[in-house]
Symmetry: C2
Subunit: 335 residues, 2 copies
C-alpha cells in the first residue's frame, strides 16, 4: 500500500480536477491511499457526499497561487495546501506527493522543507518527452537556468536512476549540444562532456537537437534554460504543425474527406505527443518523491500522476538516486 | 546588375550542385552575374561545354573540407575557393558571396578577411524559420555560444535590419526565454531584457519556445547555443512527426487510402517546413554580404540562395546594419 499526498488546491482546475482524479485513481488501484490536502469545505463539496475507505482529508486553510512569489509564499503561507503536504511528506506521513500547483513554489517548498538528498546540489524537474523510440527523460526543466558542470553531472545520475525505475535497463545518457564532436558547444557543455565520459554511466556523447525527437538517448542532460526551450518547442511544434496541416487539408474538397477518414489516426498521434499521457514530472534529488503535474491538468491527468507516483514510490526512486550519487561521488569535481 | 561570388567547391554536392545552381539562377534573372570560384578543370567538366555571358570562373586550387579545423584552414589554405571568394568580396569584386561550405570556416573567413562592420562585436548567422505567420529570423545560429549582453543587443539590431530588407515594416523583436515576465530566465536573458526594452526597437518582450512556431515575433534573439537547439529541433520535429503519423496511417487500410489522397497536401506542408525554400542564412554584421546555404544544398537551393543574395545586395543589408548599429550605439553598454 502506498500513500499519496495530494495538494488538492493546486492547479487551474482545483479542487474539482484533483478530487475527481483522486477518486478515479482509488477506483483503478487497490494498492493506494490518497490524502487530500486543502480546504475541507471545498473538498467536501467536490466529493458531493461520496466517501472512500482509502481517502482522507487533511485540512489546510491557505492556497498558493500562480501570482504568488514562490519564496515568499512558501515562507509565509505556512498553512497552504502545498506547504502542509510537503511537511507531511518530509515527516513520513506518505510515500509521495503530487501537485499541479506553481512549479516555482513546489521547487522552493521541496528545497526548503523536504530538502535535497545527501550530496545533491540542486533538485531537477524531469518531464518525459515523446520520441520515435518511446519516452525520454529531459533533465533539468526546472529552475536551474545558470548551471555549473557538477549540476549537469548530477542530473545525469538522477536521470539514469529515474529511467531505471521506469524499466529502462541501461539508460543511454546524452548531452544536448550543438554538434556531436567532443569539442563542440558552449563552455558548460564542453566541460560537462569531459566529466560525463569519465563517469560510470552509459554516456553516449552529445545529442544534437535534430536527433532529440528520434529518441537517440533515454536521458537528455541540459540546463533548465535549454530544457525548457526544448520541452516547450516540442509542444509548440506539435500544435502548430497540426494547424499548418489543417490549412493544407482545407484547400480541396477531397482533402477534407480524406482528413475526416484519418481523424482517429490524428487523434492517436496527438495522444502520443501529449504530455498528460506521460503523467507528471518528478522533482528528482529530494529526500522524498514529489511529482509535478501540468497546471492545466484535468481529472485524468491527476489520476495518472497519482498512479505514477505510487509506481515510482514502489521503485524507491529517491533510494536509487541516493546510492547513485554516492557511487558517482568519486567522479564529481568540487565546485 | 549584381555580381554574386560563388564558392563553387563548398558543400556536399559541389561542384555539381553549385555549377548547376549558378546556371539556373542566370536563367531566372537577367540582373545577376556569377563568378564561380574553384578548380577550373572540375568546374569546366560540370559546365560540359556550356558557357554564359554573365558567368566567369576564378581559379582557386584548394578546397576547405568539413574535416578541416576552421581557423587553421582559413589561415593556411590561402588558395582555397572559400578564402579566394572572401578576398574578392572584401576587395569589391562582387556584391555578395554565397557558400555551402563549412559554417565554421565561413564564419572564420568572414571575421578574418571581410571583417566586422564598425561597432559590431560578432557576426551572426541568421536563418529564417517557418512559422504559422510566415518567415521569422532566428539570430544567432552561428558560433556565439557564450554571449555577453551586448552581443544579443547587436543581434536585435542586425535582425531588425535584415527583416526590414525582407520587406517587414516594423519588425517585432522577441527574446527567446523560458517565461514571459521580465524577471524570468537565466542571467543573460534577464540582463538583455532590461537592455532591449530601452532600445529604439520594436521589442515585444520574451517569447517562450512554445510560441515560436506560432510566429509571435519577426526577429527572435538568442545566443547561438539556444539558436542551434531551436533551429535543429524544429527540423527534427518536422521529420519525426511525419514518421509518427505515417506509422498511424499504416495501421488501417482506409487510413492508407486517405493518406494517399492527402499526399499533395503533405508535400505542400513539407515544402513550407523546409529550409531550402527559404534560401540561405546571411552572416550579418560583416562589411559585405555573405550567405551560407545548407551543406547538403542541391542545385535548386544554390539557385534560390544566389537570387536571395542579389535581392539582399539590392536592399544594402550591410548598409542598414551599419547605420542601425550607429544609431543604437548610444544605448549599448560597454563590455
Amino acid at each position: 500500500m502506498k500513500k499519496i499526498i495530494l495538494d488538492a488546491m493546486g492547479g487551474d482546475h482545483a479542487p474539482g480536477a484533483t478530487v475527481a482524479g483522486a477518486l478515479a485513481a482509488l477506483e483503478k488501484s487497490d494498492a493506494i491511499e490518497v490524502v487530500l490536502v486543502g480546504q475541507p469545505e471545498m473538498i467536501e463539496k467536490e466529493l458531493g457526499g461520496s466517501t472512500h475507505a482509502r481517502l482522507t482529508i487533511r485540512p489546510a486553510s491557505e492556497v498558493i497561487t500562480m501570482e504568488d512569489s514562490p519564496t515568499m509564499a512558501v515562507r509565509r503561507k505556512k498553512d497552504s495546501s502545498m506547504v502542509v503536504a510537503m511537511n507531511m511528506l518530509r515527516d513520513g506521513q506518505g510515500d509521495a506527493m503530487v501537485s499541479a500547483g506553481s512549479t516555482g513554489a513546489l521547487l522552493t517548498a521541496g528545497i526548503l522543507i523536504d530538502r535535497c538528498l545527501p550530496g545533491v546540489h540542486r533538485p531537477a524537474l524531469t518531464p518525459i518527452i515523446p520520441t520515435l523510440k518511446g519516452p525520454v527523460a529531459l533533465i533539468d526543466c526546472g529552475a536551474n537556468v545558470d548551471c555549473k558542470p557538477i549540476h549537469l553531472q548530477q542530473f545525469a545520475v538522477m536521470g539514469t536512476a529515474y529511467m531505471k525505475a521506469n524499466g529502462c535497463k541501461n539508460p543511454r545518457v546524452g548531452l544536448i549540444n550543438i554538434g556531436t564532436e567532443e569539442e563542440k558547444g558552449n563552455e558548460l557543455a564542453r566541460t560537462v562532456y569531459g566529466l560525463l565520459k569519465e563517469m560510470p554511466l552509459n554516456f553516449i556523447g552529445n545529442v544534437e537537437a535534430r536527433e532529440i525527437p528520434a529518441g537517440q538517448a533515454d536521458v537528455l542532460v541540459c540546463d533548465a534554460f535549454v530544457g525548457n526551450v526544448t520541452l516547450k518547442l516540442i509542444e509548440g511544434m506539435a500544435s502548430s504543425m497540426m494547424t499548418m496541416m489543417k490549412e493544407e487539408f482545407s484547400k480541396k474538397f477531397r482533402f477534407k474527406l480524406a482528413a475526416a477518414v484519418l481523424k482517429p489516426a490524428f487523434r492517436a498521434f496527438k495522444g502520443k505527443m501529449s504530455y498528460s499521457e506521460h503523467g507528471g514530472a518528478p522533482l528528482l534529488g529530494l529526500n522524498h518523491l514529489v511529482i509535478k503535474t501540468h497546471g492545466s491538468a484535468g481529472a485524468d491527468a491527476v489520476c495518472s500522476t497519482i498512479l505514477q507516483a505510487a509506481r515510482l514510490a514502489d521503485a524507491d526512486v529517491p533510494g536509487i538516486i541516493r546510492s547513485g550519487i554516492a557511487e558517482g561521488g568519486a567522479a564529481f569535481t568540487r565546485e
